[in-house]
Amino acid sequence: MKRAFPIFGIVTTVLLGYGLREALVVAPTEQTMGEVQRIFYYHVSSAWTAGLLFCINFVASIAYLVRRKAKADALALASAEVGVVFCTIVLVTGPIWARPVWGIWWTWDMRLTLTLVLWLIYVSYLLLRRFSSSAQTPVIAAVLAIFGTLDIPLVYFSIWFLRTQHPQPVMGGGGSIDPRMLHAFLVNLVAFSCFGLLVCWARYRLEVLRQEVEEMQALESLLEARGSR
């Protein structure tokens, strides 16, 4: 298990390097959008990774409520933190692409709104964890994570209906995709998923260590109090 982490790290680095070359050199330039389209390889991969991490957060939260293991809580915290980072990347790279292509930074399009709401929910989750520093934090955080997940389909339907009611300019569209582009995209998808999981893993190990240190300090102060008596 100890050796798995550095091995995974090396694999991720290689994948990221390969993905970078595929996205910037090998994949052909898109005809209408030009070079700026290449941000797509990172934008969509980050969105996917954020979604993956939020799923991990949900599963870990349920696991914590059922089993009450501190490690599940550490995983929930790590995945939410890293997920918010990736979600932020999505929200930042999106407008960078949208400005030259759509001519606007932001629109209340379905996916944009959904990502923003998702980001808001998980930032409030992290804020709750930050503002609460007691032993009850894991329970209330897990409960909030469940509420957040329940909210996502409702957000989805509300925006879907709002947007079909007030029509928006049609963006993107079908058409065939160059196989080299698809390849670059898939490589980056895998690379970013690995990268996200790697950072989450590192953060998880840190959190578990922090829990152990805290436990030890509590134990020490207990023993000290007994010794001085």
Binding site: L127, S132, F147
Partner: protein
């Protein structure tokens, strides 16, 4: 021994009596909502046509902010003299306590809405072009959505530092779909341009999902160690 329903009723009556005597929440909410109405009204100064389109948003934002005032003091009251700890050790079912608090807050916010709506009508020159009776349905469903989650999150934010700030930070993001539904349904009824049916169905779903979730998870929050 008192049954679960009796406990709910006793807690609710106690809260109502306390509120009737002090009128703390009602006064604060009313004045707060009044300020929002006045400030919005003179900063936008809309025509009748415009105000029909934006009123849904203004009304619900005002009610949302005002209801946070009532929600914040739901549990804070029980902290004095360790009342909440007494609840925790008693064999009383946690959900009857939760429901009593939700009903109490629901009543406060509904009273607020009943008193504030005439003011909105006066300041914004409102008059519904769609079926106005549906506004009552939207108000009841929307208020329930705000209050059930608000009461739950108030119990959560009780466990944090600076809990008064924490409540809106938790409540607003989760309430986005409900707020959107309330605002859109109200606008739909006021302008009469499109049907509010989808939004009312969405509100009912939202209410059902989060009422169930709250009842299911409240015990965990109350007994969180």
């Amino acid at each position: 021994m008192m049954g679960a329903r009796g406990l709910t009723r006793a807690t609710l009556l106690k809260d109502l009596r306390l509120e009737w005597r002090s009128k703390d929440a009602t006064n604060a909410m009313l004045f707060f909502a009044l300020l929002v109405v006045v400030i919005f009204s003179f900063s936008f100064d809309p025509t009748a046509e415009e105000s029909r389109r934006i009123a849904g948003g203004l009304v619900w934002v005002a009610f949302l902010f005002a209801s946070v005032v009532a929600l914040n003091q739901t549990w804070a009251r029980e902290l004095r003299n360790q009342v909440l700890d007494a609840y925790r050790v008693s064999p009383a079912p946690p959900n009857s306590l939760f429901l009593a608090k939700v009903f109490g807050n629901f009543l406060f916010v509904i009273v607020l809405e009943a008193l504030m709506t005439p003011l909105f009508v006066v300041f914004y020159n409102l008059h519904a072009l769609g079926p106005a009776y549906l506004l009552l349905v939207v108000a009841a469903l929307g208020t329930w959505a705000l209050v059930v989650n608000g009461t739950f999150f108030a119990a959560i934010s009780l466990r944090t530092r600076s809990r008064e700030i924490m409540l809106p930070l938790l409540l607003f993001p989760i309430s986005i779909p409900a707020l959107l539904a309330m605002v859109e349904a109200t606008s739909a009824i006021l302008t009469g341009e499109f049907s509010a049916k989808f939004w009312i169905v969405l509100l009912v779903t939202y209410d059902l999902v989060f009422t169930m979730a709250s009842l299911f998870l409240f015990e965990l929050v109350l007994h969180a160690e």
